[in-house]
Point group: C2
Chain length 261, copies 2
DNA sequence: CGAGGAGTTGAAAGCCTTCAAGCGCCGTGG
DNA sequence: CCACGGCGCTTGAAGGCTTTCAACTCCTCG
């Protein structure tokens, strides 16, 4: 561990502990203005502080299993989590990709409907469910924000359905890489145009579960995009996008309609 | 037109006109207790009455095109509508199937995000958008109910994603028929066990857009399920399910986990 | 009666999956 | 210290499921 300039080089558990130690105060929270609490006033925030607690997970850990009791709802603070459904014979489909500020759990439902897994080191801001539900009734700001976020998720799910139902394997891969690139740009406030180098936060297998493909097909299509110069890959995970428009052409989406980021 | 016992035998436009004529008063509304207004009190309902109006569409008509201005939000009162996305080259994927009581449109968004089409004769209860948005701010009951409905839709979308990403053509068809059967049972309050005869409300093409298949594959798989005795088909649309458990086995879903209906 | 829409079915092609083998990296334990 | 084993990933070859292209039926409507 020669260079310790970024948190990336530190052991995951330590980083998570640091993050949660840093985050006792909602005012310092990195997702303060995007999460379910975004619209809360100072007094409402104080109420939330009383029922919140942080939990950390290492990459690969399961947060909850589908069907398990779930006594909390939560926001992703840092890291990435996934929601996955599994069929009896083991076929798996990812149905949610949760980034910082995204919300986990459903008020009013006692059990988890999906497997929730940390795909990177993960810190979540959890609220005990019952107090949270009570607070939702008294605090319209929370319900309003949650509605907004849920509508956004529904839009994303519908975009995803188009991908799953109608796109080719190549288009699926191009779409996923574009999504990750955009997300990265938005998190880093990058000026969109440079920052097109990033680390894929998903294994080939996780990508295949996202895209409704096998991991072999994912691997082959990534290789194909690399061969065709659409992307540049260093090692297994580091991706550079020399020409974003070229990549977007490969997604099959409208070239113009890009109102997102 | 010898037997006119049910509305099915009447010209669509007339039925729609009848329905909307019957429905000036929210208290007589068939979706009063399931739609976005479900939790409203008498005074709130009165407010809604002032900003509502009915619109009728014949089977096949387009309600709005993706990208068009949309000055209203609405509830489906009777009939079925679909939300569909289209790619540049014409590939289409249905992303929403709207039944009576389902909500159309997004408060706060000026344009339609999807093509909305009536697949059967359709009556919608429309609210002018601006007044509706204003009312949402003053009336938590509406926002609360809308959140609940949106969360349900998100769950449905995620189930659908599993279907699109991981199920075989045969499983997709069995799943769709099961969904329609359940819906029918729930609308007719049937005692679940008999009423397993119904009309498919979708063309083969609409089914293919729902399932991410071609219409030929839909046709072939329906024929295969018929050959195997899983379903009985009279004419092109009328389906009988002799053994629902058998059909459910064909969906690939958990046999037990059926908490729906 | 002809035209057109909805649906069915056959044959061939194609895309993705399945099955297999192999590479490179990393942590463990002899 | 180094061999071993596992994991993540890549690549090849064969097979299969769905699509594509095409022909044909049935029914409705003008």
């Amino acid at each position: 561990m020669t260079k310790a300039t970024t948190t990336h080089d530190q052991p995951p558990a330590r980083v998570a502990a640091q993050v949660s130690a840093l985050l006792q105060d909602c005012n310092d929270c990195p997702i303060r203005h995007r999460a379910v609490c975004a619209r809360c006033e100072a007094d409402e925030l104080q109420h939330l502080e009383e029922i919140k607690y942080y939990r950390s997970f290492e990459a690969g850990q399961t947060v909850v299993w589908s069907g398990d009791r779930m006594d909390f709802v939560a926001s992703v603070v840092t890291g990435i989590a996934t929601l996955t459904q599994t069929m009896e014979d083991g076929r798996r489909q990812m149905v949610g990709l949760l980034l910082p500020s995204d919300f986990v759990g459903r008020p009013g439902r006692p059990t988890a409907a999906y497997d929730v897994t940390a795909t990177t080191d993960l810190v979540m801001c959890c609220f005990r469910k019952k107090p949270f539900e009570d607070m939702m009734l008294r605090t319209p700001h929370i319900g309003q924000r949650l509605l907004e976020m849920t509508l956004d998720e529904l839009d994303a799910a519908r975009e995803w359905m188009l991908l799953l139902g109608r796109k080719t394997a190549r288009e699926k891969i191009a779409s996923l890489i574009t999504i990750i690139a955009r997300r990265n740009a938005s998190l880093n406030q990058a000026s969109m145009g440079d920052s097109l180098i990033f680390e894929l936060p998903l294994t080939r297998e996780a990508m295949s579960e996202y895209l409704g493909l096998t991991l072999e097909t994912v691997s082959r299509q990534i290789s194909a995009l690399r061969r065709d110069g659409v992307i540049v890959v260093e090692g297994k995970r580091r991706v550079t996008i020399p020409d974003l428009d070229r990549l977007i052409e490969e997604t099959g989406d409208d070239t113009d309609g890009g109102f997102l980021i």
